[in-house]
């Protein structure tokens, strides 16, 4: 009589999915400029995570943040319910990037860059015959992803859901202000100094013209044109010996 409860206990266990502790995350090493763009993001490959499931096919599930609680692991990949082309409406989560464990050898060789670029296949984004297309994401998100291992059509293991991933949003060029941050110190220096010099010159010119005709302002260094002094001196005595030219 204890057999029945035991059998009943075992039956659900036979169909339970293993919950792996791994949480998918955006690649942190190496630092990638294109880690998050407007329609793609880059995840670390799940190395050394699915070691016990050598026969399974590992799928990536990409879901809208709000669709995470309602995602059903038994939804098959490549069906209209999980087709990329119908994402994000009405399909709230799609499955893509299927691969066998052989593509994720463990341990990861040093120096290799092991990443998955979600959204890199733009050629099949509108092709309904490719429902598992890894197409560019249609909006900024937020999205959450997890890996799911299927044997045949039976899910056997899953990782945790990632933290929400937000993509970049491009601003309009109108937000760039080209008004300039004011004038540089050089320009202000040039303008100020030249204005002062010019003002001094104008003032000196005015003073100069004001005193035109009057004798030089009392300075003892006034001088006469050297030649005319000589001519004057000679004129008083030898008028006819001088050339007619007057200076």
């Amino acid at each position: 009589s204890t057999m029945l409860p035991l059998l009943l206990l075992l039956l659900p266990a036979a169909h339970a999915i293993d919950q792996l502790g791994y949480r998918p995350a955006l690649t942190e090493d190496p630092k990638l400029e294109g880690l998050r763009t407007a329609s793609t993001f880059v995840l670390d490959q799940p190395r050394c995570v699915f070691q016990d499931y050598g026969n399974a096919v590992i799928w990536l599930v990409v879901a809208l943040d709000q669709a995470v609680p309602t995602f059903n692991n038994t939804a098959g990949p490549g069906t209209p319910e999980t087709a990329f082309q119908a994402f994000p409406d009405p399909v709230r989560a799609y499955m893509t990037l299927n691969t066998t464990l052989g593509s994720y050898p463990c341990p990861k060789p040093d120096g290799d860059i092991t990443v998955l670029r979600v959204g890199s296949e733009s050629s099949c984004a509108r092709d309904e015959r490719r429902p598992t297309c890894n197409g560019p994401l249609p909006g900024p998100g937020p999205y959450r992803v997890k890996f799911l291992a299927l044997e045949g059509s039976v899910p056997v293991a899953e990782t945790r859901w990632s933290l929400p991933i937000m993509l970049r949003e491009a601003k309009s060029t109108n937000s760039i202000s080209t008004a300039g941050s004011g004038h540089s110190a050089d320009m202000i220096a040039i303008t100020t100094i030249l204005s002062i010099l010019f003002a001094i010159l104008l003032a000196a010119l005015v003073a100069m013209l004001f005193f035109w005709g009057s004798d030089s302002c009392g300075s003892s260094s006034s001088f006469s044109k050297p030649e005319s002094v000589t001519v004057r001196r000679y004129n008083t005595h030898h008028v006819y010996d001088q050339p007619a030219a007057r200076l």
Partner: protein, 256 residues
């Protein structure tokens, strides 16, 4: 009398020397501005596209000011030696007019240089680079200039490849974000002009794409161009100021 004669001769000598320097500087200014006008820096399409031609206007003014300075310096030398009040009056007034023009040219060049901010080039690049229907020659000139700039200097964008991600652009309208996070010219290219590793470039793996911006490369020649006109003119004007003050002092000492 002899002493003030010596003073007079020293003053005359100084003024002649000052005018000789002004004459030579005038020739140099003309030559420099002719060089700038006829041989604009390779980035001239970018400057032209900013629709603000003040720097080249400053260079044109510089040519004529230089010639005027040379002519007036000769007039000044004659006036000083002959100690003629008329000649010197004409000289002083014409020099003041030339001073004013050169002052305008310097200030214009400096102000325009200030307006060439990174934001200006960024907006121009985003709006015109690879525009699918170039409205006029200046759009295709901008595209060609940017391509050459990025290829020759191994740089990308104004501040970096993220310029293409942070803002919408004419480039983005014709090139999808997934295939072209940034233009191919930002990738490290091999001898045939193809990206060494296209996936590495799209991911932004260091070593397969150019991560630094081109603004430093742009601002170098532009600075030379603007400051060559502005600061050299400023130096000439400072020297001219001294010579003019000396000439006015000399003028006031001439007996009539």
């Amino acid at each position: 009398m002899a002493k003030s004669d010596d003073c007079i001769h020293i003053l005359q000598g100084l003024l002649v020397f000052g005018n000789v320097i002004i004459g030579m500087c005038g020739i140099a200014l003309t030559a420099e501005c002719i060089y700038f006008v006829s041989n604009p820096p390779g980035l001239y399409p970018l400057l032209k596209a900013t629709e603000n031609s003040d720097i080249s206007a400053a260079a044109w003014i510089g040519i004529f000011v230089g010639l005027a300075l040379f002519a007036l310096s000769i007039l000044g030398i004659i006036g000083v030696i002959k100690a003629s009040r008329t000649l010197l009056t004409v000289y002083i007034i014409l020099m003041l007019i030339t001073f004013a023009f050169e002052m305008a040219s310097c200030i214009t060049a400096a102000t325009h240089r200030d307006s060439l901010t990174p934001e200006l080039f960024l907006k121009q690049m985003l709006e015109r680079y690879q525009k699918s229907e170039p409205a006029n020659n200046s759009d295709s000139g901008v595209t060609k200039t940017w391509d050459e700039l990025m290829l020759q200097n191994h740089c990308c964008g104004v501040q970096g490849p993220s310029d293409w991600q942070e803002y919408t652009s004419a480039f983005r309208l014709t090139h999808s974000d997934a295939d072209y996070p940034w233009p191919r010219a930002c990738c490290v290219l091999d001898a045939q002009g193809l990206p060494v590793n296209l996936d590495g470039c799209k991911l932004g793996v260091p070593g397969y794409y150019n991560s630094n911006g081109c603004y430093d490369v742009i601002s170098g020649p532009v600075n030379t161009y603007a400051w060559g006109v502005a600061w050299f003119g400023f130096a000439i004007l400072c020297w001219t100021f001294c010579v003019l003050l000396g000439t006015m002092f000399y003028w006031s000492g001439i007996d009539y």
